[in-house]
């Protein structure tokens, strides 16, 4: 691993396609480079091909077209057990007929490691995840969170450079999920391993990853660090999928450098940042995050504002969540922080709303 360890393309998908039935492509033209030590998350709705990509990387499915390179070497023809990739499965796949300790020592045994070293490593690994006393139990005798930790440990105990995780936290409750997210991230950072992580929970993706690949329909829609993904979504799918998002439909009136004037379907005008639009006359979907909307804004004389009817006010503790009707959209959400001076909007009243042009992105229709 010496010279290659600095590579930015530790794992490479090069124009990979995959079809199961010869009729539809489940993965369409996937290009992706993952750096050594990177934590990359594949995020996407159900059926978008995330697991398929992971399985191709692990060697349980073969790519229909294209190459997958690991550490610079094509692995299409290397059988799974020689790839040295650790894997955490969606439902853990702990062997039910073995104890926890036997489960953990299995990968070491097949590597012909001596007995004493094996036992020592297993114990060390168990201690690392605070499961020292559970070595003699069967998987069925552990709670979901404990099983999860064992599955994680088992994928790491033989010190692979690359670990794949397929929705490892899917079956856990919210609290445990958050603890485990932190734990996984910490262990991955400590050991410096490369992680490819699959989830369809966007919070998980945002909090854990170095970069997130948003999948839809067998393609990567956007590949970017979490903050960029959230603040600068490249298209309306990503904008919708990541975080909460308000959309308004309209037609571009004119584009002036960094600002586009958009005429909404009820003829009101707003300013937006052109992202996926290039010329006047194009239809567009503008997207604004709920927390970037200002109520009764003071944005300068030439800024455009909209009239909004207050429909519902929800007190959520740290934030107020207000549902408005804006330009015919009944589901326009505004989030305001719960500050002492923050007004609570009464349903039935009318307010002005506005935003900075750069917070409002004009995307594809």
């Amino acid at each position: 691993m010496s010279q290659s360890s600095t590579r930015a393309d530790f794992v490479v998908f090069d124009r990979v396609q995959k079809s199961y039935d010869g009729e539809t492509l489940v993965v369409k033209d996937l290009n992706l480079s993952i750096g050594k030590g990177e934590f990359l998350t594949m995020l996407g709705p159900s059926g978008s091909g995330k697991t398929t990509c992971l399985m191709m990387l692990a060697g349980f499915e073969t790519a229909t077209h294209g190459d997958i390179l690991l550490d610079g070497k094509p692995i299409n023809n290397i059988s799974p057990h020689k790839r040295g990739i650790g894997m955490v499965f969606q439902n853990y796949a702990l062997f039910p007929h073995m104890t926890i300790a036997e489960n953990l020592s299995f990968p070491l045994e097949v590597r012909k490691m001596g007995r004493s070293e094996r036992e020592e490593r297993v114990q060390r690994a168990l201690d690392l995840v605070q499961m020292g006393e559970f070595g003699g139990r069967r998987p069925a005798q552990l709670s979901g969170g404990q099983q999860q930790r064992v599955a994680l440990t088992r994928a790491l105990v033989f010190e692979p450079d690359l670990v794949l995780m397929d929705e490892p936290l899917g079956a856990l409750d919210k609290q445990l999920r958050e603890t485990m997210q932190f734990e996984i991230k910490r262990i991955a950072d400590d050991l410096g391993i490369t992680v490819v992580y699959v989830t369809h929970d966007q919070t998980e993706a945002l909090t854990m990853s170095d970069r997130v690949a948003v999948f839809e329909d067998g393609r990567i829609q956007q590949l970017a660090p979490p903050d960029e993904l959230y603040e600068a979504p490249k298209n309306s799918f990503v904008a919708q999928f990541i975080g909460e998002n308000n959309t308004l439909e309209g037609v571009v009136q004119e584009i002036n450098g960094d600002v586009a004037l958009v005429k909404l379907d009820d003829d009101s005008l707003i300013d937006a940042k052109p992202v996926n639009v290039s010329a006047a006359g194009e239809r567009t979907t503008v997207s604004i995050r709920p927390e970037r909307v200002e109520i009764n804004p003071d944005l300068g004389a030439d800024a455009h504002t909209l009239k909004a009817d207050v429909l519902e006010f929800i007190y959520m503790g740290d934030v107020f969540r207000t549902r408005l009707r804006v330009a015919g959209n009944d589901n326009f959400i505004v989030k305001t922080r719960n500050r002492a001076d923050q007004a609570r909007l009464e349903p039935g009243t009318q307010v002005d709303i506005g935003w900075l042009p750069q917070d409002c992105r004009a995307l594809d229709a």
Binding site: G59, P80, H81, G86, N91, F95, F106, P107, A155
Partner: protein, 472 residues
């Protein structure tokens, strides 16, 4: 909490009765209702299942016929010393005359004759002969009955004959059971039967060994099929499943008889082999195969020799050494021997191995194999360490089914087994329907039942019956 209740006595319900009692009362009605619901089935099971078994177990020791037919004689025999070497005295013969006259009137003497004939041949005809004369006995007259009986047949003075009657005069006897393990009851206890009459232990042993062999071949052949069933795409798996179930739609007799056609001397298999030996390929390969076969048979014979040495230690049966060291290829003896029984029974019992195996394998997620491989296990290691252990419950269930079915199987060995490939159940059938020695048949059956229960118990101790899965 526990202390408080202990001090306050039993917990009371709202109306003051102890909680336990009111709970029991509340449950009684629903229990009765549940019982009424299953009553028809319960009665059916009792009548058709438990009762016949109980009756069979009773028959295996029941022996009232002697004391009922010859009540006075057996009473008079009480003081006769069996080891005296002479026939009993006059009072016994007088009692015998009285008994005989009544027995002949009721036509019971022939039944008793056949019963005692199981223990000593010749008694049946002796009784019939005596019966004919007994009609004319004049009990009022002062006759010397001993001389009278001697007149009818000299066998009446044979002490051995009287020993048999005395030995079997109690209402319950262990004679049938002793018989079924090749021993015979004597006045002093029991002894081994002469060598040429010992058959049952040998048969039990053969039944056991062959059932084990059949179970093993079923595992060997059934495991891959079950694996395919569980792992093929649904369409092909369904087709395969139909093939597995197809035999169930054909009569057992037809299937077994088909094997006769296949395996006999002039049968399909042998004809094909003969044709093959005459082809060019056959002529080329035969010497090689002959050589390999001879080596294999040599090794096998070595093993069998050791086996005989070991089992000879406790008086068990010799397993035949393979005699056909292959000099040239002849028509193989595939039927009317052990081979035939094993082939046909394996075929017939195979579905009973495949189905439970399949139902267990279908629940083993392929993810486990993937997980094993991702950790660096080769295909074989992944199978052996991860898949196979999880399929053991299926092997257990299939083995129990096949073994228990095999050990009591009757029709197939009867048709293809000849004399050397029959099971104990064929002997039981013989005693039930031909020799009419139901007591012996019952004793053999009871031993078989006990053996199965014992094996089941041993299996539970070793493998654990919880480890057996018959379904998902």
């Amino acid at each position: 909490m526990a202390d408080q209740t202990a001090q306050a006595g039993p917990v009371l319900a709202a109306d003051g009765t102890p909680l336990k009692r009111s709970l029991a009362r509340a449950l009684r009605l629903s229990k009765l209702r549940a019982l009424a619901l299953i009553a028809p089935l319960l009665i059916f099971v009792l009548v058709t299942f438990i009762a016949p078994i109980a009756d069979m177990l009773f028959r295996s020791v029941e022996n009232q016929i002697v004391s009922e037919t010859l009540p006075r004689t057996t009473a008079a025999l009480a003081d006769w010393d069996t080891s005296s070497g002479t026939a009993p005295d006059e009072p016994v013969f007088r009692a015998l005359a009285e008994d005989f006259q009544i027995a002949v009137a009721n036509k019971d003497h022939t039944k008793l004759g056949s019963r005692l004939n199981y223990e000593k041949t010749g008694i049946s005809s002796l009784f019939r002969k005596t019966g004919r004369k007994a009609k004319k006995f004049d009990l009022a007259a002062d006759t010397n009955w001993k001389a009278e009986f001697e007149d009818i047949d000299e066998d009446w003075l044979d002490p051995e004959m009287w020993q048999v009657i005395k030995t079997y005069s109690p209402a319950l006897t262990s004679g049938y059971f002793l018989n079924s393990i090749d021993r015979q009851k004597t006045s002093e206890g029991s002894e081994w039967r002469p060598d040429n009459q010992q058959i049952y232990l040998k048969l039990f042993w053969r039944t056991l060994v062959m059932s084990i062999v059949i179970t093993c071949t079923c595992i060997l052949l059934g495991y891959p099929v079950a694996w395919l069933l569980a792992n093929l795409p649904a369409r092909s798996a369904n087709l395969l499943m139909i093939l597995v179930l197809l035999p169930f739609w054909t009569s057992l007799l037809v299937r077994t008889s088909a094997w006769k056609v296949m395996l006999q001397q002039q049968g399909v298999v042998n004809d094909t082999l003969v044709w093959y030996h005459s082809t060019f390929v056959g002529k080329m390969l035969d010497p090689v195969i002959t050589f390999l076969l001879n080596i294999a048979i040599g090794l096998l014979n070595g093993l069998l020799w050791v086996w005989n040495l070991l089992s000879g230690a406790w008086g068990a049966v010799d397993v035949e050494l393979f005699t056909y060291a292959v000099a040239g290829f002849e028509r193989l003896a595939l039927i009317n021997n052990v081979t035939g029984t094993i082939i046909a029974m394996t075929h017939i019992l195979l579905p009973f191995m495949i189905l439970p195996l399949y139902s267990v394998m279908a629940t083993i997620s392929p993810v486990y194999l993937r997980a094993a491989k991702s950790m660096g296990a080769t295909n074989w290691t992944a199978f052996w360490r991860v898949y196979f252990p999880q399929s053991i419950p299926g092997i257990g269930a299939g083995s129990i089914l096949v073994f228990i079915l095999a050990i009591g199987y009757y029709i197939t060995p009867e048709i293809v087994g000849g004399t050397k490939g029959v099971f104990i159940s064929n002997r039981i059938a013989y005693h039930i329907s031909s020799s009419l020695n139901w007591g012996l048949a019952a004793a053999l059956g009871a031993i078989l039942l006990a053996a199965v229960l014992l094996l089941y118990w041993a299996y539970d101790r070793i493998v654990g019956i919880d480890n057996v899965k018959l379904g998902g």
